[in-house]
Amino acid sequence: MTADTMRHEGRVRADRLRATARLLLPYAVFLAILLLVPAVFTRVPLYTMGNGVYMAILAIAALGLVPLTGFAGQISLGQAAFFGTGAYFSAILTVKSGLPATPAAILGMATAGAAAYLFGRYLFRVSGHYLALATLGLGLVLTIVASQLEITGGTAGVVGVPSLAPFGVELFDDVSYYYLVAAVLLVAVVVVDGLVRSWLGRSLTAVGDAPHAAASSGIDIAARKRLAFVVAAVLAAAAGSLYAHWAAYVDHHTMDLLLSLQLLIIATVGGIRTVWGPVVGAFVVVTLLQVSQELFPELSERVGGQAEIVLYGLALILVLLFLPKGLAGWASDVIQRLTRARAGADEGGAR
């Protein structure tokens, strides 16, 4: 073996190592942040541990929009309908039927997924942006129905949803509940990241980029969009179940259009083509909410806690106009540019 080939092999191995590191590094950073949140949020002003739980729940619910809207290009304004489905299933089945929390949540996720599948069977036969309108209608109808039916407790909702006790450890406060929610978020991020990096993600990208060419490449567009829709529904339902046990009660507001809008904003502001987008977006949106309540408490009260939506809307427009890839997308571009510049400098130095 010559020195040259040895050097070459060494370089290949180093390259492979670097590629693995590049893949795992964001996860390591994310895990570190997740573990740091309790220490920080319990000590700084503006944030509470409840904010941390809420952020993680919102991020899980918004995560499904990455493959659906970000990659396949299909806007959904119905995420809250599936969030509410998960929340109501957990609440009703544990409170009224006495079912344990886990099967209740799984039933809720399965129902949301099945509903999305059936809805999608009809919906994705046409191209265009009708899904946005149809999901909007779905959310509104379900909100109205949930506020009228007896089983959902009408406008009063379902109260007394028990707290969770995984492996016999009762999660009685926000800090302990946070660890559960953060773990679910981490798993959800890994699953969705795996999906969008796989060949399925590639075919979703193809569908979003050039639908006619995707179809002519043998991709069943309706089936791909339906898959993304089901994934989004199941994740939203999981988030809904977690919310129900955390908030201890569920009413029709869990299906509200405002929540659907909020989730779309979270995903878009954070970056709808990366799994880190919803995480960053949830942090930003909850921060905006806290800031507006802190800065304008009297205003918030006067308009029924709706003043912060101006901030959401402005954030949404500004990010879409100036950072179309969202905050996380922009950050990853910057990091990439920096590492490339450094690699260039290194090479120059070696020479």
Partner: protein, 317 residues
């Protein structure tokens, strides 16, 4: 591989009051390159859209190897062995060159019923190798990881052709693949098209570049106002009086390489005539339209053209 048998039977496509395709019947089973030409608005792209499932026919049908393809969904038609490129270039702009070609390969692998969704995962390396081979064939081997959006126009065209070939089609339909390409790029792609046809895949070529169509095609069908005006070997079609009066003669009064409305191509063609002595000698590009018409009428292609068509594809293989 047996040649694809394409039958178009009494096909009509109406948009509102306009008959884009009007009772077209055409069969082709001898393989090679079938050129489809005609003035703008003759219905060429509409025929492609119907055959690929992008637009529904108003009446009539099309069959591939006896199997009806009209009315099928676009992805089913693709699986039946029909691939295409698009006039307005439809690459997957957020994917890399390699991934653009990987998409149809993976879609095909996933279509197998039993292994289904996992097939593309299990056979990942194999599919990548196949995609890389195809890209090598179109001369893109050294840019596999380049984002397709950052490629120049001509290179994206080649990626699109590689993508169309990826699904192992029996019939490849190319919609104006040479439009907007430089002379060198256009020659390369024409050679590639010829080599595809020689490897046993039937090529349906819609193209405005008359010289190229006549050079590459084994058979040429002429559409006018959605109807078949003439059909035969390039020599027969060029000699056909109706074609000459309705289309060729008209076009030749200008310049057969001009693409109406395509300013880049027009400028490129003009520049070619001005700078390239070979181009000026080429009958289609002669500065004097009368001379060009006379030469075309003789239906006798100059030797270097015939030579190019017969030998170069093989030389490239």
């Amino acid at each position: 591989m047996t040649e694809a048998r394409l039958e178009i039977i009494d096909l009509t496509v109406r948009f509102g009051g306009v008959r884009a395709v009007d009772g077209l019947s055409l069969s082709h089973s001898q393989g090679g390159v079938l050129g489809l030409i005609g003035p703008n608005g003759a219905g060429k792209t509409t025929v492609l859209n119907v055959l690929s499932g992008a637009a529904p026919p108003t009446s009539g049908e099309a069959r591939l190897n006896g199997r009806r393809i009209t009315g099928l969904r676009a992805d089913r038609i693709a699986r039946a062995g029909v691939a295409r490129t698009f006039q307005n270039l439809q690459t997957f702009h957020s994917l890399s060159v390699l991934h653009n070609v990987l998409v149809p390969l993976e879609a095909r692998a996933a279509a197998k019923p039993v292994v289904g969704l996992f097939a593309p995962l299990l056979r990942g390396g194999q599919l990548r190798q196949r995609a890389a081979d195809l890209l090598g064939r179109v001369g893109m081997a050294d840019q596999l990881d380049t984002p397709v959006a950052s490629l120049p126009y001509g290179a994206r065209r080649r990626v699109e052709v590689a993508r169309a070939l990826a699904a192992d089609p029996r019939l490849v339909m190319l919609d104006e693949p040479l439009a907007g390409l430089s002379r060198a790029e256009s020659d390369d792609l024409a050679r590639l098209i010829r080599s595809v046809a020689d490897s046993g895949v039937t090529v349906l070529l819609v193209e405005h570049d008359m010289v190229a169509v006549m050079r590459i095609s084994d058979r040429v069908a002429v559409l006018e106002q959605g109807q078949l005006l003439a059909d035969g070997t390039p020599a027969e079609v060029q000699a056909d009086e109706r074609v000459r009066s309705a289309y060729l003669g008209d076009e030749l009064d200008y310049d057969p390489l001009l693409h109406k409305g395509d300013k880049r191509a027009e400028a490129a063609a003009r520049q070619r005539v001005a700078t390239d002595p070979d181009a000026a000698a080429d009958p289609g590009l002669a500065a004097d339209p009368d001379v060009a018409a006379d030469q075309e009428a003789a239906a006798d292609r100059p030797p270097q053209t015939t030579d190019r068509r017969r030998r170069e594809p093989r030389a490239q293989q």
